[in-house]
C-alpha cells in the first residue's frame, strides 16, 4: 500500500511535492469534469424515455418505470410499490389516477382494485436504455437521409479538396512559371475572406449555377481551401527536385510525376488535410443552412437544427440524434488524437 502510494505520488525529476502541483491536478480534474461531463450527460440522457427526460430532479442513469400487463387491461400498467394501511409493502399496478388518489390493482388478483393515496405509492424503476430514441428518428423522420447527405458531402468534398489542392500545391511548389507569384499572393488574399463576408454573393453565384438545394452547392464553394494549398505546398517544397528530374529522364509525364511521385511522398501532409477537411465538412453549418432549404437535402447539422427548432421539442429524439452526429468525429478523434493534436500544433489551423 505504502509502495503503491509512493509510486503514485512519485514525480518526474524526483523533486518533492509543491502546493501548486495539487492545484494543477485539481484544475485538470475539474477540466475533465467540465469538458467530458456535458458530453457524458448528453449520452446518458439520450437513453432516457420521454417520461424519464421530464423528471425533475433528473437522474444520471436512464431509469424508467416498470410496467406490467394485467389481465383484463388492454395497455401495460405502471408498477408502483404501495404501502398498505397495515404497514406492509406490495408491488401494485396503477389503473388510473384521480386527483391525489390512485386506483391500484394487484397483478396477481386482477379483479380486485383498491384506492391508494398518492403519497403511499412509489414508482418501481429499473435501468433501461431507450434504444427506440435512436431507431425511431432514423426510421420515421428524415434522419437517415440527413446522415447519408452528410456522408456524401464529407467524402466527396474531402476527395475534391485533396485532389484540387494537391494539384495546385504541386504546380506552385515545383515549377517556375510566369504568374506564379501573383497566384500565390492571390491565394494569400483569399485566406482573408471568410464565407461570413461574402455569403450573399456566393448565394447568387450558386443560384446562377443551379446549385441551390443541391449537395454540389455545399461541396464546391469550399473545395479550394487556401489553407490546404499552403499546407501542402510547404510540405512539397521539402521534396528534392532531383527526384522529379530522374522521373523525367525515365519519360514520365508531368501528370505521372504528380500522382505517382509527389502525392505518395506528400502523404503525411495530405493526411493532415484530409482529417481537417473531414472535420470542416462534417461540422459545416452556416453555408449549408443558407444553400439548403428543402428538408430532403439537409445535412445532419442543418437537419438537427431544424428538428430542435420545431415547436414541440422532442428532446428524446434530439438528444439521440445529437449523439449520432458527434459519434463519427469522436471516433476519428479517439483513434487519431495524437495525430490531430500534433497536426494542429504544427500548422496552427483548425
Amino acid at each position: 500500500m505504502n509502495r503503491t502510494l509512493a509510486f503514485l505520488t512519485r514525480r518526474r525529476g524526483g523533486r518533492g511535492w509543491h502546493p501548486t502541483d495539487i492545484l494543477s491536478y485539481a484544475y485538470l480534474m475539474l477540466g475533465v469534469l467540465m469538458m467530458f461531463g456535458p458530453v457524458v450527460w448528453l449520452l446518458m440522457s439520450s437513453f432516457k424515455t420521454q417520461a424519464g427526460l421530464v423528471e425533475f430532479p433528473p437522474s444520471f442513469l436512464p431509469y424508467s418505470q416498470e410496467q406490467v400487463m394485467v389481465e383484463g387491461y388492454k395497455d401495460p400498467l405502471p408498477l408502483f410499490e404501495v404501502t398498505l394501511p397495515d404497514g406492509s409493502k406490495k408491488p401494485m399496478a396503477q389503473v388510473r389516477r384521480i386527483g391525489i388518489v390512485s386506483q391500484m390493482v394487484d397483478p396477481k388478483q386482477p379483479d380486485q382494485t383498491i384506492r391508494v393515496k398518492f403519497e403511499d405509492r412509489t414508482p418501481i424503476r429499473s435501468l433501461a436504455f431507450a434504444w427506440e430514441n435512436y431507431v425511431t428518428p432514423l426510421k420515421q423522420f428524415n434522419f437517415m437521409s440527413y446522415l447519408w447527405n452528410s456522408i456524401v458531402v464529407t467524402t466527396v468534398a474531402t476527395f475534391i479538396t485533396l485532389v484540387v489542392n494537391s494539384m495546385a500545391a504541386f504546380g506552385l511548389s515545383k515549377y517556375e512559371f510566369k504568374g506564379r507569384t501573383s497566384i500565390l499572393i492571390f491565394i494569400i488574399g483569399t485566406l482573408m475572406i471568410p464565407i461570413t463576408v461574402i455569403m450573399v454573393p456566393v448565394y447568387l453565384v450558386a443560384t446562377q449555377l443551379g446549385m441551390v438545394n443541391s449537395l454540389w452547392g455545399v461541396i464546391l464553394p469550399g473545395a479550394a481551401t487556401p489553407t490546404g494549398v499552403f499546407l501542402l505546398r510547404q510540405y512539397m517544397l521539402t521534396i528534392p527536385d532531383e527526384l522529379i528530374d530522374a522521373a523525367r529522364m525515365d519519360n514520365a509525364s508531368e501528370w505521372q510525376i504528380y500522382w505517382r511521385l509527389i502525392v505518395p511522398l506528400s502523404l503525411p501532409a495530405i493526411a493532415v488535410l484530409a482529417i481537417f477537411s473531414i472535420m470542416w465538412r462534417w461540422n459545416d453549418f452556416l453555408w449549408p443552412l443558407i444553400i439548403l432549404t428543402r428538408n430532403e437535402v439537409y445535412t445532419l447539422q442543418v437537419g438537427l437544427n431544424a428538428f430542435q427548432g420545431e415547436l414541440q421539442v422532442q428532446w428524446h429524439f434530439v438528444l439521440a440524434m445529437t449523439v449520432v452526429t458527434l459519434l463519427p468525429i469522436t471516433l476519428v478523434f479517439a483513434f487519431l488524437q495524437k495525430f490531430i493534436t500534433t497536426g494542429i500544433a504544427s500548422t496552427g489551423m483548425k
Binding site: M35, W41, I198, Y203, Q337
Partner: protein
C-alpha cells in the same frame, strides 16, 4: 519520410484507404489525356493545368463574389439578380450608419445592426479575454511535469472537434428549465433560473459555451509555444534559486509573447465571426440580446420575409474591413515572430 511521424501516422494511412480506390481510378484514367495535353501545350505550361481547377473554384466562389458584394452594397431593392437592382450609391451604408447617437442603438435607423455591433463588441471582449486567459492557464499547467499529459491535453481539445450545432444542443439541454444545472441549483436551495430567457444570463452562457468549445485549440498552440522555450533557461533559473512566479514573469512570458499575440489576434478574428453556436443555442434571443453581427447579416439577407441583400452586403463589407485590419495585424505579428 512516411514512417517518421509515429503510430498516429500508421492509423492515418488506414483511414486513407477509403479514399485510395476512387483516387487510383481517376488518376489512371487521366494519365492518357494529360499526356495529350502536355504534348499540345508543352511541358513548360503544365503548371497552369495543375493550378487551373483550384483557381476556377477560387475565382467562382471567392473572387467574383467579392466584386458582386460591392455591387450589391451600392444597389437597392430585394431582387437577387444584379441586373434587376437599382443603383442607390452609398445609401445602404448611410442607412446602416445613420444614428442620432451612436452609443445608443435605439436612436439608430437600423437599430438591429447596431445592437448586433454592440453585442458583438461585448461578446468579443469577454470571450477573447476568457478564452486566452484560460488557454494560457491550461497550457502552463499542461507544460508542468504532469502524469498523463497527453490524456489531459486531449480532454481539453475534444470539444474543439464537435460541431457547433452539437455543442449548442449539449448546453441547451443542460441549461433548460428542468435541466441538470437547475437541478443542482434547487438542490442547494436556490430558485430555478431560465438561463436562456434572461438577457444577461443568455449573454453569459454564449460566452461560456463558445469559450468551452474553442479554448482547447488555443491551449494547443500555446502549449506548443511553451514547449519550444529551451529547457536550459529554466534550469539556469532554478540554479539561481529564482522563484517560480519570477521565472514565469521573466522567462516564460517574454518568450511566449509572440505566440500569445498570434493567438490573441486569431481568437479575435474567430470571435468576431461567431454565429453557429449562438444561432442554435439562443437564436439571438431573448429579443436581440445575443444577436451578433454575422447573425444580423444572415437574417437580413436570408431569414426575413423581405430579403435585403444590399443592406446585408454593406454590413458584410464593414465586417470584412474589420477582419481585414485584424488579419493584417496578425500577419505582421506572424512574420515578426518568424524573424526572431
Amino acid at each position: 519520410m512516411k514512417r517518421s511521424a509515429g503510430d498516429g501516422e500508421l492509423r492515418g494511412n488506414r483511414a486513407e484507404g477509403l479514399l485510395r480506390l476512387p483516387w487510383e481510378v481517376a488518376m489512371r484514367a487521366l494519365e492518357y489525356p494529360m499526356r495529350g495535353v502536355q504534348r499540345l501545350i508543352g511541358q513548360g505550361r503544365m503548371p497552369y493545368v495543375f493550378v487551373l481547377p483550384n483557381l476556377l473554384i477560387f475565382g467562382t466562389f471567392v473572387v467574383v463574389p467579392l466584386f458582386i458584394n460591392f455591387y450589391y452594397s451600392v444597389t437597392g431593392g430585394t431582387a437577387l439578380f444584379p441586373e434587376d437592382r437599382p443603383f442607390v450609391g452609398a445609401d445602404q451604408y448611410g442607412y446602416l450608419l445613420d444614428c442620432e447617437n451612436h452609443l445608443s442603438p435605439f436612436t439608430c435607423r437600423e437599430d438591429r445592426f447596431w445592437r448586433g455591433v454592440y453585442n458583438t463588441i461585448f461578446f468579443v471582449t469577454f470571450q477573447v479575454v476568457a478564452m486566452v486567459g484560460l488557454s494560457l492557464l491550461t497550457a502552463v499547467i499542461l507544460n508542468r511535469r504532469i502524469v498523463a499529459r497527453g490524456f489531459f491535453r486531449s480532454v481539453f481539445f475534444y470539444p474543439v472537434l464537435l460541431s457547433p450545432v452539437v455543442v449548442a444542443l449539449i448546453w441547451k439541454w443542460i441549461l433548460q428549465r428542468d435541466g441538470v444545472l437547475n437541478a443542482v441549483i434547487t438542490a442547494f436551495g436556490g430558485d430555478r433560473v431560465l438561463f436562456l430567457a434572461e438577457p444577461q444570463w443568455a449573454m453569459f452562457w454564449i460566452i461560456f459555451v463558445s469559450t468551452w468549445a474553442h479554448m482547447g485549440f488555443y491551449t494547443l498552440i500555446l502549449l506548443a509555444g511553451l514547449q519550444s522555450i529551451p529547457a536550459d533557461l529554466y534550469e539556469a533559473a532554478e540554479m539561481d534559486g529564482t522563484s517560480r512566479w519570477r521565472t514565469f514573469r521573466r522567462i516564460t512570458m517574454p518568450l511566449l509573447w509572440p505566440t500569445m499575440l498570434v493567438v490573441l489576434v486569431l481568437a479575435l478574428i474567430k470571435s468576431v465571426q461567431t454565429f453557429d453556436e449562438v444561432f442554435v443555442l439562443t437564436g439571438g434571443g431573448p429579443g436581440t440580446a445575443t444577436q451578433l453581427i454575422v447573425h444580423y447579416i444572415y437574417e437580413t439577407a436570408f431569414a426575413t420575409q423581405v430579403h435585403n441583400f444590399g443592406l446585408a452586403a454593406a454590413a458584410s463589407i464593414l465586417l470584412g474591413t474589420v477582419l481585414f485590419i485584424l488579419t493584417m495585424i496578425q500577419m505582421r505579428l506572424g512574420s515578426r515572430g518568424e524573424r526572431r
